[in-house]
């Protein structure tokens, strides 16, 4: 009989071997670029020549760029409008779904069709909806006696139009997350509230919503992170215009990198975005940890 090898020794080798293909790919194509991006942010580089170290110049010139405040304002406006519309609608639909209902699966599937469709395809369809000549939205307006609107070529309506489409696209995700939150609420509290005479709107406002608070915040942060990264729709539908009214941060980053070939500036911009999103993620993790502890304590 052969001597049995110590299991732990072979495990050490096998463990690394099994993990190595994934670690190699992630190391080379994900971790390395993330670190490189940070360094490129301190250089002047057009991709062809050698990168030249310029210290904080990219950051200072970004902050001094007259486009920068415009881009920040556009991005924040987009995120805020998106969050308000998205959270209210998703919560309403989740509340409506949170009952014993036949055909619940049908509704959930319907809400998910936009989620699984590519943003490029969705953007093209909505361009047709927003089309000033014969587009569906202006036709509906005309029924009600409204004047045709140039949705995507008017600086006043282009960004809100993109927001509406983005809400439509991602609503299903947040409905499902809210529904999961609603179903996890303690049934006794809701029932006792009903016994106390709190029904309908009052019960929602004073009992359900406060209990759902953590879920709303988590879903909101996830949705906000997504909204900050908006790019595809802008690229297809408005090219950042008219008059830069839809130039959000990622679109400007893309222009800096692949239109103006200012890779240093693009990387600096990328790290600014990264800092904001990392901050949001950190808030999310901290809050979640605290809530999980509270639940365990009570």
């Amino acid at each position: 009989m052969q001597p049995v090898r110590h299991p732990l020794r072979s495990e050490r080798i096998w463990g690394l071997l099994l993990a190595s293909p994934a670690l190699f790919i992630i190391g080379v194509f994900s971790l390395l670029p993330t670190l490189a991006s940070f360094l490129i942010g301190f250089t002047d580089w057009d991709l062809l020549g050698a990168p030249k170290w310029v210290g904080l110049d990219n950051y200072t010139s970004l902050l001094a760029d007259p486009v920068f405040p415009k881009v920040v304002a556009n991005t924040l406006l987009f995120v805020v409008l998106y969050l308000v519309l998205d959270l209210v609608l998703a919560l309403a639909l989740a509340l409506a779904l949170n009952q014993k209902l036949r055909g619940l699966g049908f509704f959930r599937t319907a809400y998910f069709l936009p989620v699984v469709t590519s943003m490029v395809a969705v953007s093209i369809v909505w361009e047709w909806i927003f089309d000033p000549r014969g587009g569906a939205l202006n036709e509906v307006l005309r029924w009600f006696g409204g004047e045709p609107v140039h949705w995507l070529s008017d600086p006043a309506t282009a960004l809100p139009a993109l927001v509406v489409m983005s809400v439509w696209k991602s609503l299903g995700t947040n409905v499902v997350l809210f529904l999961a939150g609603l179903q996890a609420l303690p049934g006794e509290v809701l029932e006792s509230a009903e016994v106390d005479g709190a029904t309908g709107w009052r019960r929602f406002w004073h009992v359900t919503l406060p209990l759902l608070g953590p879920t709303v915040l988590l879903v909101g942060i996830l949705a906000g992170i997504r909204a900050f990264q908006t790019f595809d729709s802008v690229y297809i539908m408005t090219h950042g215009g008219p008059r830069r009214s839809t130039t959000v941060i990622v679109y400007w980053l893309f222009q800096n990198a692949f239109t103006y070939f200012k890779l240093g500036k693009a990387s600096a911009l990328a790290y600014m975005l990264f800092a904001v999103l990392a901050g949001l993620t950190w808030v999310q993790w901290t809050l979640r940890k605290r809530w999980v502890h509270q639940e365990q304590d009570t």
């Binding site: 050490r12 790919i25 994900s30 409506a96 209902l101 069709l113 490029v120 909806i129 790019f231």
Partner: protein
């Protein structure tokens, strides 16, 4: 919520979600004249398949379709394979640096793709991969989400199973392939549909990594097709091409819905 009010809300929501798809399909079945008529036609009459014939008659659309299928299938296979192996190692084996490595992997999940865009393009350019399938496939052969998903799954595997196999002289490699992996079909399905949809719909990276028409994936090709008719847009033709592009994603989703929802929860609640 009041039952009638609830149902009304649900139906309005469903109609609003479905309406753009309805418009997509009706427009794709119209002639150009009908779509541009004033007042515009709501329903295609006569119904025509000419737009589909024309869209699919263009070799380019099929080429893009094939590219998308190729990239999606290979990255799904790659992610499942590398993710299962690494997830198993992180869950069940002890090796030097395991916890640090797993932490780093989780951290990469937090980095927005835009941060990596410039250096990744520089790297791919240096490798001579611009306008190749490698550029579209290889960076996506492994991912943190897959590793995380499989690690969760394998952590639930009973320890006795491993001990018994070890006594029988079964090597960790064989145990992984013949015992552990076959139990993990739910994780395989979840990661499969996530990666398929991610690959099928992704736009920014293939837009940057490919310039030649014959290497475009569907989203990039569709965007170029749309841009090519900036002056006068043939909406019915464009809608037909768009329909062709989205049908596979919707079919895959309808089949693997349950797994998709599960993955969504795992990603949002735990990840």
């Amino acid at each position: 919520m009041n039952r009638a009010l609830g149902l009304t809300t649900l139906w309005i929501g469903a109609l609003l979600c479905a309406a753009p798809f309805l418009l997509l399909i009706t427009t794709s079945l119209m002639t150009y004249e009908q779509a541009m008529a004033y007042p515009p036609a709501f329903w295609p009459s006569p119904l025509t398949l000419d737009n589909f014939r024309k869209a699919m008659g263009e070799g380019a659309l099929w080429r893009w379709f094939g590219n998308s299928v190729l990239v999606a299938v290979l990255t799904v296979a790659g992610q499942i394979l590398t993710g299962a192996m690494a997830g198993y190692a992180f869950a069940r084996m002890s090796f030097r640096g395991r916890d640090v490595l797993f932490f780093i992997v989780l951290m990469t999940m937090m980095v927005p793709v835009q941060v990596n865009l410039v250096p990744l393009f520089a790297l791919v350019a240096r490798l001579g991969w611009v306008d190749t399938y490698q550029a579209l496939i290889i960076p996506d052969l492994a991912g943190a989400f897959g590793i995380f998903l499989f690690r969760q799954w394998f952590m639930g595997l009973p320890k006795e199973l491993e001990d018994a196999a070890r006594l029988d002289g079964c090597s960790p490699w064989r145990f992984f392939w013949t015992v552990a992996l076959p139990t993990a079909t739910p994780a395989v399905a979840t990661l499969g549909i996530f990666q398929f949809l991610a690959s099928w719909n992704t736009f920014m990276w293939p837009l940057v990594a490919t310039h030649a028409d014959h290497l475009r994936t569907l989203p990039v090709g569709l965007a170029a097709f749309r841009a090519s008719m900036r002056e006068t847009t043939d909406w019915p033709l464009l809608m037909a091409a768009t329909t062709v592009a989205i049908v596979p994603a919707i079919i895959v989703f309808l089949f693997l819905q349950k797994q998709f929802m599960k993955g969504l929860m795992d990603g949002a609640v735990k990840g």
